[in-house]
């Protein structure tokens, strides 16, 4: 009888060792040079923001030297502003405020956006219609103007600023969440769960949401960056907490003096730029890591 040919030794084993999607994503992220650079910068900035004031205990709000001292001309490496405040101290302390508000606002954005998007995407019908009208309304409102008004009317504390930013920024997250929920809702495994009697709550929390997580993580990273820029804009206009020194405020305060001191406006801006850039690089890296098919060639 014919002997079947021996199994081909050169073909690869049929079952490779399984790696979880999270681990795969992390490996891909780690291989991405710019994403890792962004992560390193971000960790550095966080380090400075958290431990900086202890390691460099100069007050950012008191006069410590002659006003308008250029960088490198004194022991205050980045110079002083028009009152004589240390720019470097301002950067270190301002980081805390900026990052805190950025994270707080992004969290509010996330909570509102995901809730509305999930409900609209999952239930569809009149719920979807109603929520989309609301979303459209918030999208049409010019967000900076509205935030300005809210802050003006309700006093400019850090909490209010964070809330104001959160309220005007959630529409993109909502749209994305809705699209993801609508897409995943139609997938086979969701229908299977429904067929065995899973309740809506379980479907939303344990089935759809984890699968929708990757793009939501990416958009949250980006919305943190946006929130930081937004806060910078508000404090530049003088609409943030007067007791808090933030980077945007430094730029706004020093603006009338740029003809005499370029350093007062330049360095805080560089700080904002680097922070947001790092966040964007990390966000992009996450995007590529979760979607290897869409990776930029």
């Amino acid at each position: 009888m014919n002997s079947k040919a021996a199994p081909d030794q050169t073909s690869p084993p049929l079952i490779a060792e399984p790696t979880s999607p999270t681990r795969q994503a992390w490996l891909m992220f780690r291989g991405n040079l710019s994403a890792m650079a962004g992560l390193v910068i971000l960790l550095l900035i966080l380090f400075v923001a958290i431990l900086g004031p202890s390691l460099y205990p100069v007050s950012p709000t008191e006069m410590v030297w002659m006003p308008l001292t250029p960088p490198g001309a004194s022991e205050y490496w980045l110079g002083t502003d028009y009152i004589g405040r240390d720019i470097l101290a301002g950067l270190i302390n301002g980081g805390r405020v900026t990052i805190a508000i950025g994270l707080a606002a992004a969290s509010i954005t996330f909570v509102i956006g995901v809730t509305i998007g999930a409900l609209a995407g999952f239930y569809g019908g009149w719920v979807d219609n109603l929520l989309m009208r609301v979303t459209e309304f918030f999208q049409v409102l010019p967000n900076l103007l509205f935030a300005m008004i809210v802050v003006m009317l309700f006093s400019a504390s850090l909490t209010n600023v964070a809330i104001a930013i959160g309220i005007v920024s959630w529409t993109a997250t909502a749209r994305l969440t809705r699209a993801e929920f609508m897409r995943i809702r139609e997938m086979e495994y969701v229908k299977a769960e429904r067929a065995i009697g899973a309740r809506n709550r379980r479907l939303i929390w344990s089935v759809i949401l984890p699968n929708a997580a990757p793009p939501l993580v990416v958009v949250s990273a980006l919305s943190t960056g946006s929130a930081i820029l937004f806060e910078a804009g508000l404090s530049f206009l003088g609409l943030s907490d007067p007791n808090a020194m933030s980077w945007g405020r430094m730029i706004g305060d020093n603006r009338p003096y740029i003809l005499d001191s370029w350093w007062g406006v330049t360095f805080p801006g560089v700080a904002i730029f680097l922070t947001v850039l790092a966040i964007c690089l990390v966000g992009d890296g996450l995007n590529d890591a979760f979607n290897p098919k869409l990776r930029q060639r």
Partner: protein, 331 residues
Amino acid sequence: MSSPLLSVRDLEIAFRIGDSDVPVVRDLSFDVHHGETLGIVGESGCGKSITALSLMGLIPTPPGRISRGQILFQGEDLVQAGETRLRQIRGREISMVFQEPMTSLNPVFTIGEQIAETVRAHFSVSRREARDRAIEMLRLVEIPAAEKRVDNYPHQLSGGMRQRVMIAIALACEPKLLIADEPTTALDVTVQAQIFDLFLNLQQKTKAAIILITHDIGAVAEMTDRVMVMYAGRKIEEAPVDDFINRPMHPYARGLISCIPRLSADPSNEPEPLFEIPGVVPGARQLGAAGCAFAPRCANVLERCREDTPALEMKREAHPVACWNNVEYPA
């Protein structure tokens, strides 16, 4: 016999995968004569589509390139031809119909415009004349109410109709060679039959040579004059169609023919189990290896098969086969 319309000689196509060059097509030589239909059969991944693209110079060039060989079309070597010359030939002398009618038409232009622009690209005619030609072509491919349909957008047509439009585009400039790459794979079975009938009709009318790439042996039997079998980037058998269907010689070709399920003469009989060729097609990494690529799956494999790549031998008249075995076909 007059000289062939198309003559491919020792064609080799390489793709850059990772950091090595993988030969996805090797030592490929075949001819196509005026007015004949050549079928190219093989499983997915055997290199038949890439061969078709290479004939038109449409291989995506960062990863792929023609590394050796000649493609002589009416005596002119297309491998050496520049992009300008190739553009003159595409759509005019050689055209192609692709596999996916749903996505092969541009959704934002009317079908009439997509046919007419082919004509305008190769002939200096007015827009009016080109449009008239488009309507004429739509009638040729049997689309009803052509004068109205000419202003439709692709999304307003079914899959079968879209494929007819693709054929209309391909034939608009009366090419000498039409390449059809799995033209009906994405279509309904009933529509498949219609499209093949259309092909037969059109061939009689236009006298174009056709290369039909397919894995449907039934279509091959109906439409082709000669058949060529490819496996792992090589030609392993070639024969006139009757000879191929009734007396295939290469074990792989025999496997393909055996795969066709047969209706049992007596319906009360137990249906025979479907025949399948064991194993899978070699992956990209195995393509450069020595020896017969089919050896791992062959029931008649010899020691020699693993070491030496078999060359094409003329085992019967006009019937070259690449196999070390000399298994006679049971009478």
